[in-house]
Symmetry: C2
Subunit: 509 residues, 2 copies
């Protein structure tokens, strides 16, 4: 208890309810003797690396039907590790699924619990054990499933997404145990092995566990994203939502030869091209009336958040490989365009001729695909209506005899934005400051993390994204890696976060 009180004094009271003070005024860059003692007893980095080598060596690619036994092996390996750490684990069977006409088992979801003290807060950590496909022939310099150390980097599939960060949490807990320091919170894990394959079954299980496994959760942490830059740690408090649209135009019952029919029939593709051209202008501005109506205005306090962020426009441009940025001279505008304003991207057209070479086809039915990234307070159902009303009206203007329809995929995904001034975020920033010796940036991201929204809604609690990896980890492409520094210091950060969460009042969460 005294620990908590002293912590409150240090942070100053009323931070959560404050009128948005500068974020970093009360974060301590000084070492905390408890935590320092703790790290004097830490295991050698080499043992951490060996554990990661074992995990990376298991080819848990959920999108390959033939690799499901490896996914299962990964689940068993992980459950054994958790049991060694004193967790009670439960492997929830998920049944089978049909893949390419073959029935394959869905790997079980691990529900693990360590500690059941009602006076302690309970931290839930969510992660995934499956990885993206990888073959050395894709252009890897090393064998993807053989962890390879080179120049301070650990190369291997899953090293950063998401095996490395998960092992970071395991090692943080292990450090408490090995140093006989009591763990100040209860910890739970939800670990799936199907994230890269649509998280089959996870939603239902979580919904069913609302009043059981998830009932006593006070805070959720996810380490499945990346720093904004290469060298500056960050804590992430927002994600954009997503509405994905399909626009279909159909001119006939079969594809036709343009030599035989060209000139005589009313073709579908020019109609689709025309209607897709109504959506954005050359500068990327969305042309759908009312689309920005519910976007939160930028407040001065928010602007200030952007100014200190470690983000280099030229480096961003070079890394992305693009010819031009929308705001070539403006770091803040570029970050806001990625994080806190909606955007519309045209993705492509299904049913038209998309292969290399020349084919003289008149496609019978073409489906344009585009998506809009949502930000607070845009709601998918309202965006859906705005877009469809607009396109239906445009279609009437077009006056084509072809068949048109437009619809949104699923229900869309809401944007997510936490309060970066919330005590749980302060705890994460304090832990980062201690581990890295510098205050992390508070960032948002432009993408989505569907399970984050799910866990937030089911638990009703705060969710934090605490990344371990760096922006150049190449999570979904060839030569995925995690920096040794991120892997080791990230582990320190997680143990410090456990310490900091232990100091929070439950009423603040």
């Amino acid at each position: 208890m005294s620990e908590r009180n002293s912590m409150m004094n240090k942070f100053g009271s009323g931070v959560a309810g404050s009128n948005l003070p500068p974020l970093d005024e009360d974060i301590s860059l000084k070492k905390d003797s408890d935590k320092d003692d703790f790290w004097l007893h830490r295991r050698q980095p080499s043992t951490y690396i060996e554990t990661l080598r074992e995990a990376v060596g298991i080819r848990s690619i959920s999108t390959w039907p033939d690799a499901r036994n490896e996914c299962l092996r990964m689940v068993q390996w992980t459950a054994a590790k958790l049991e060694e750490l004193g967790f009670e684990t439960e492997l929830r069977k998920m049944g089978d699924q049909d893949m390419d006409g073959k029935s394959v088992p869905i790997p079980p979801i691990i529900l693990a619990t360590r500690g059941n003290d009602q006076y302690k807060k309970t931290l839930l950590i969510y992660g995934h054990l499956d990885v993206q496909p990888a073959r050395q022939s894709d252009g890897w310099y090393t064998e993807p499933f053989c962890l390879t150390e080179d120049d301070g980097k650990l190369y291997g599939r899953g090293a950063s997404d998401d095996k490395g960060p998960l092992l970071g949490w395991f090692h943080a807990i292990e450090a408490y145990i090995k140093t006989s320091i009591r763990i100040p919170i209860n910890i739970k894990f939800v670990l799936e092995t199907m994230l890269e394959s649509g998280s089959e079954g996870l939603d239902d299980l979580m919904m069913n566990q609302k009043n059981q496994f998830l009932a006593d959760v006070d805070l959720v942490a996810i380490s499945d994203n990346y720093w904004l830059s290469r060298n500056q740690p960050c804590i992430t408090y927002g994600l954009r939502g997503l509405c994905y649209f399909f626009v279909e135009v159909e001119c006939g019952s079969k594809d036709l030869h343009s030599g035989v029919f060209g000139g005589a029939v009313r073709e579908a593709l020019p109609d689709l091209i025309w209607i897709l051209d109504q959506l954005v202008d050359v500068d990327g501005n969305i042309l759908i009336p009312g689309i920005l109506d519910n976007v939160c205005p930028v407040l001065p306090e928010e602007e200030a958040l952007y100014d200190g962020i470690d983000f280099d426009l030229e480096e961003f441009k070079a890394d992305s490989g693009v010819k031009a940025l929308r705001y070539p001279e403006d770091k803040r505008a570029t970050l806001m365009a990625r994080w806190r304003f909606p955007c519309l991207t045209l993705h492509g057209i299904q049913g038209a001729f998309g292969d290399p070479g020349a084919k003289t086809v008149i496609p019978r039915k073409v489906i344009g695909k585009f998506s809009i990234r949502l930000v607070p307070n845009q709601r998918p159902e309202r965006i859906d209506k705005l877009v469809r009303d607009f396109l239906v009206q445009k279609w009437e203007e077009r006056g084509s005899p072809n068949k048109f329809q437009c619809y949104m995929a699923d229900d869309g995904l809401k944007p997510w934005c936490a309060n970066p001034f919330h005590p749980s975020y302060k705890a994460a920033r304090q832990a980062t400051a201690w581990a890295y010796g510098r205050i992390p940036d508070m960032t948002r991201e432009g993408g989505t993390l569907e399970r984050l929204l799910l866990l937030q809604e089911i638990t009703g609690k705060n969710v934090l994204l605490i990344p371990m990896g760096s922006c150049d980890d190449a999570a979904h492409t060839k030569n995925e890696k995690i920096n040794m520094e991120n892997y080791i210091t990230g582990t320190k950060l997680f143990s410090a976060f456990i310490h900091e969460v232990g100091k929070l009042e439950r009423s603040e969460l």
Copy 2:
């Protein structure tokens, strides 16, 4: 000689040079006793069908590397048949080609000659022995390589494209031999087995044979197209040309995730969509200035040609399966739009997301594909320049920082239009009238036949398209067939055509 003179009297002199008289005033629907005698001795249809069964049974699919031995077998089977008919045949070796990383032999081209009489005209017949791929699982009711007779139709891959028509020519020649009637002309064949695979090697061989094998050719006939309707025979005197264009827009060096980068970068696909939308209006009119400048005006005589053509708009619409025609009430406008006016078709986009489902990609480089069908006197090089100048100017208007280029595939294909009043066409019409008891329609087609232009240019002689099959033969799709009536009466037509060509003066050709 007397034969020739009497023929000239019957046709009336000076037809070729006449001022476009109505086409059909002097075609005789009466039987010609020579040809009647000849057909009294014809073989039974069943033997013709058996020969087609053998030919269809050989799976000469040139686009499948593993079927090249079947292509070779088809060449050998055909050469043997020609030799039985008294042809001297030569199999020209064409070397190997690389397919999917595998070296496969190109089937030899058959050059065959029957007769060497300098006082006779020489007819060259061009055809192909390879067929489109087919598997029963594609939706065939019957095994595609087992000729199946049903309700007056012969189903099988190649039955109409192009094995049936070629056998028609063989059987016509055989009938002369069996009835001991002298063949009034020299006949040559050029038969390739690579048409469906780009006619590899044919151009070079033909060019090399200009002053050898092709030197004495007086007329070229090709039976590799189809009637305009189901029941009315036709002779085809025109084809459109083709310019196929690629428009590339590139915004970066790699595909990007729209969540991470959407809103911050200048995307390529909206630029491409915009520029493709500049090409045609909603009614299918081409928006490129000057594009129609060299299109021949429609003369009254030409208009008259269209009025009598057997073509039912509703049937055409139903067969094509389209929602709407450009000229729903106008048969002549519809035919002209297919045959004698240019059109522009958008085919698709390479590099964008074209698969089913949803993918949130920002494509790094997208290539739009469209083509323009050309008619006399449009020239590919001028169309190329017009299109590129137009698109470059539009791109400047767009003002995008992305990279743009536009180019035409190869050199384009010129349109082809023969004089339908030429004596060789009159001969074909006379032969059709005799075989079918009705005067054929004079048609054009909207597609291209690259080898036709080649043979016309190399020989400098008239080329005729004399189709055997009907419009619903499904040459490139499932359930290809030829009607028994077309196969048998078409064979009669070919023998009558040989007879009629025999009557022409060389000076007319």
